[in-house]
């Protein structure tokens, strides 16, 4: 399905937009439910007790947690309090997801604004069990240093006041906290050699960035691979994308492709499988993680 470019390849169905977009809301509702279940279980609270809190039955809680029904924002706030989630950013992350999942047209409101579509990505990213992807141009956001992030943010928002740039950089750094949380996702990213060679922010910033990549690659749940210029293959034909996978068996993988002014989400199987195939081929074409580490060291020496 496409967000930001509605109906671009489904012209044969006049109302394909709403039908497909409601599938997106379903995914978000399932994610919301899965998050609520994790929080409830972490707090060691029974479904019965949670139901009592919001004057609902145990089976309603089960339906909420499997994403079959939504619930009111006020009820979610009560549940979060019951689950001991008091940290405002953590609460707002769940509540934002709830608002998006209960508002079938959230994308039209936010589709042309970076914060809207990007926030929904952040919700999905933080709920993912596995994050895979390919980057042709920039160091993946999760692995960026503050200085590198500032350099690429300035490029994208040249007229923005310094204050806004700093907020965007702060957002990016905050996003990286998922790498160090208690049960982090498996992150398996492949980069084109160009990512290592193009020195955003200048050689000093880039050298520090390359060293940071080496540190990040040492995390046990992080796998980093580089496709060298010497290899043609799929790397040459593909743009950047990420694939998010969720622990729940029934949730489909979601492909995320960022564009200049919007993003595209794909969750239809034929689309997703195409990207799944490409990411596997890229991984086979790329250097192994061990060779990648040596290669980054070499590039750092040349930068």
């Amino acid at each position: 399905m496409s967000i930001g470019t509605p109906g671009d390849d489904h012209d044969d169905r006049p109302d394909s937009g709403p039908v497909e977009l409601s599938a997106e809301a379903t995914v978000l509702r399932m994610l919301l439910g899965a998050q609520l279940r994790r929080l409830r279980e972490a707090a060691d609270i029974s479904a019965e007790k949670a139901g009592y809190e919001i004057r609902a039955s145990r089976s309603k809680i089960s339906r909420i947690e499997t994403g079959r029904v939504g619930l009111k924002i006020r009820d979610i706030e009560d549940l979060l309090t019951l689950y001991g989630v008091t940290d405002p950013p953590e609460r707002s992350q769940v509540l934002d997801l709830a608002r998006q999942s209960s508002t079938p047209d959230w994308w039209t409101k936010y589709g042309d604004l970076l914060p809207g579509w990007f926030e929904s990505y952040l919700g999905l990213e933080s709920a993912a069990e596995t994050i895979r992807g390919f980057q042709v141009q920039f160091v993946p956001g999760l692995f960026q240093t503050e200085d590198y992030a500032r350099a690429v943010t300035r490029l994208g928002h040249q007229a923005a006041p310094a204050e806004e740039i700093e907020r965007r950089v702060a957002l990016r750094l905050q996003r990286q906290e998922l790498l160090t949380r208690p049960s982090p996702p498996q992150v398996w990213l492949i980069m084109d050699e160009a990512v290592l060679r193009r020195p955003y922010g200048g050689p000093d910033v880039m050298r520090a960035q390359l060293r940071h990549l080496l540190d990040t690659a040492r995390l046990p749940h992080v796998t980093l691979q580089v496709v060298p210029f010497s290899h043609g293959g799929h790397a040459a034909a593909s743009g950047s994308f990420s694939i998010l996978r969720f622990a729940e068996r029934d949730l489909p993988d979601i492909v995320y492709i960022e564009q200049l002014t919007s993003a595209v989400y794909l969750d239809q199987r034929p689309d997703v499988e195409h990207y799944l195939e490409v990411v596997h081929q890229l991984s086979g074409e790329a250097m192994t993680p061990a060779a990648t580490t040596r290669f980054i060291e070499q590039v750092a020496g040349e930068t």
Binding site: W188, R245, E277, R294
Partner: protein, 283 residues
């Protein structure tokens, strides 16, 4: 710590995988065994053709999910026995499949962290996962060889970089040899592998049993396989499997259905798999 990788890791995999060997291309138009197993074990690294083949297979053999889970559990019990009780510290696991929970190195290194494990598979999807994700313990080591089981020379040559073939090695060939037809000499393959390891080594093997399902079911399944699955499948009888273990003494209880091989106490099974399995100790 990340597992060590083969010394070929400076090169990209494409050089070895493309054209020069008989490895299959990354083809999602037909079902591949590794991806079929992934689907049956609850994974998401499978494609439309894999699921379609499973659906067609299940119409004839509804117990396939049990068979696949039982095979995985047999692997776990065999590796646990070999590490904890037989003192094995080297494994050659051929036909790795897409990594999932309870891989050989996780079971073995969980018991004896210094255990060395060499995985072998030839499917490009396994290559992608194994090179990227097989993670080893601090003192042990895990390596991956991209090779067809028919290429025993390559397997033994590359495995000898990590494994010491003067010390006992456990060779595991699980749910693999039914993908090798008689014309490709599966008995010679196993004999060559066993020849390379010393007395006191082990062979753990499971295999689809032609005498574990009705003849008409067998014929229907072969029809599904021919139509939908990338490699040919050959079911063999218990009698036909015995020669794989030539030169070994079978551990109790011998060659049995995989779920009957030293089941964990208290295990109750109401279903029956269609796989024979055994572990033999080289004389």
């Amino acid at each position: 710590m990340k597992g060590t990788t083969m010394s070929t890791d400076d090169a990209t995999a494409a050089g070895s995988a493309a054209g020069q060997t008989d490895q299959p291309a990354f083809d999602t138009s037909r079902a591949h065994q590794a991806r079929v197993y992934d689907y049956l074990l609850g994974g998401k690294d499978n494609f439309e053709a894999d699921r379609a083949a499973v659906d067609a297979w299940l119409e004839v053999d509804p117990e396939l999910p049990f068979t696949v889970r039982s095979n995985r559990a047999f692997l776990g019990r065999a590796v646990r026995y070999l590490t904890a009780e037989a003192g094995i510290r080297q494994f050659l696991d051929i036909g790795t499949g897409i990594p999932t929970a309870g891989n050989t190195h996780q079971v073995a290194q969980g018991i004896a962290p210094e255990t060395r494990v060499v995985y072998v598979d030839y499917d490009p999807i396994v290559l992608a996962h194994a090179r990227a994700l097989l993670i080893s313990s601090e003192s042990g080591a895990t390596e991956y060889i991209d090779a067809n089981v028919r290429d025993t020379e390559k397997i033994l040559d590359q495995a000898s970089r990590l494994l010491d073939f003067t010390q006992p090695v456990a060779i595991t060939l699980l749910a693999l040899l039914h993908a090798v037809p008689d014309t490709d000499k599966p008995y010679d393959i196993v004999a060559t592998l066993l020849d390379a390891v010393p007395s006191g080594s082990y062979l753990a093997l499971s295999h689809a049993g032609s005498d574990l399902l009705d003849a008409d079911k067998h014929d229907s399944l072969m029809g599904v396989a021919d139509r939908m699955i990338q490699n040919k499948i050959t079911y063999r009888s218990r009698e036909q499997l015995a020669p794989f273990f030539d030169g070994t003494d079978l551990l109790e209880p011998g060659l049995v259905r995989v779920e009957e091989w030293r089941p964990d106490p208290g295990t109750v099974t109401t279903e029956r798999s269609t796989l024979w399995g055994a572990v033999g100790r080289k004389k």
